[in-house]
Amino acid sequence: MIKVLEYLRLMERGLYNKKKRAYLTNTKPTIIASNCVGTAIYDDMKLPVCSPTINLHMRMDDFVRFAGNLEWYLKQPLRRAEDSTVSFPVGMLNDIRIYFTHYDSWEQAERKWRLHIKRVDLGNLFIMGCEKDGCTYETLEQFERLPYQNKVIFTKKEYPEFPSSFCLHGFDVEEEMGNLIGYRDGFWLRRYIDEFDYVSFLNSGILRRGGYDKRTDQKTAGDNFSGSLR
């Protein structure tokens, strides 16, 4: 019985992603993300990866500097950094420290970085940050000043003064935001990030809510992708 329910959940998750994909018109976006959020979107939407920021994370202050001078940083050589406190490869891109969280070796991380850089489309850029990994109020201010039209920073509370911020519920009592690609409690498999209608964001840069909505009792099934404006 448990196996049947698990199968049902996985099937439903597949249909949920498929339904989202049907609305997606931007099929080759370059998502520059500070953590694995971009990777999960590429994966769930079965999109071709056109970004080097895959399976890795950076501190938010580093990320803002990186995104702020993206073209220049993408031309810098990636060098290996020693870090005995972590079990995954770490690299330095000039003064930016990159944690290759989901890579088995430095060689693999470096090779993939080079491979993915070649696919970057600066004319189809989407910047995604997160209020974690050392993100302060000042970092949010700096993020807001980044010269990109399509940018969003996920936050644990509302910041009306920052139009690029988007509050994801579920981390209100946490010291900082947790894993945004993890699944929320509940029968149906919904990631925290699913609260954000990233299909509309990738299609037209609009920031609005997707499926999950606190006001409708954490609705998870039959999600409305047209959503309501924030």
């Binding site: 099929t27 080759k28 990777t39 590429y42 994966d43 079965k46 999109l47 071709p48 990866v49 056109c50 895959i54 399976n55 090779r111 993939k112 080079r114 491979l115 070649k118 696919r119």
Partner: protein, 84 residues
């Protein structure tokens, strides 16, 4: 387009996707034979094949077990496209 022509064009696509000009493909090759061929690169590979051959890749094609199967599926798609 003959099977060999499809194979050669596919080889060019593989070389571009995996950024390896020396990459040579064989029909019995699978993802295990190409270092960077994982699920992440697979999506890029499929989009590149679609663009190059002007065909729509279906779910069954995404699950091709090896390059030979991939070529056979492309061949079939092209035959349908050109009404052969």
């Amino acid at each position: 387009m003959t099977r060999e022509q499809i194979r050669r064009r596919l080889e060019t696509i593989f070389q571009e996707v995996f950024d390896d000009a020396k990459l040579s493909i064989r029909e019995d090759m699978t993802a295990a034979d190409i270092e960077d061929w994982d699920s992440i690169e697979h999506a890029y590979l499929m989009v590149s094949i679609e663009a190059s051959f002007g065909i729509k890749i279906t779910d069954s094609m995404k699950k091709a077990e090896n390059i030979g199967e991939m070529i056979a599926m492309i061949e079939k798609k092209l035959q349908r496209k050109w009404g052969k």
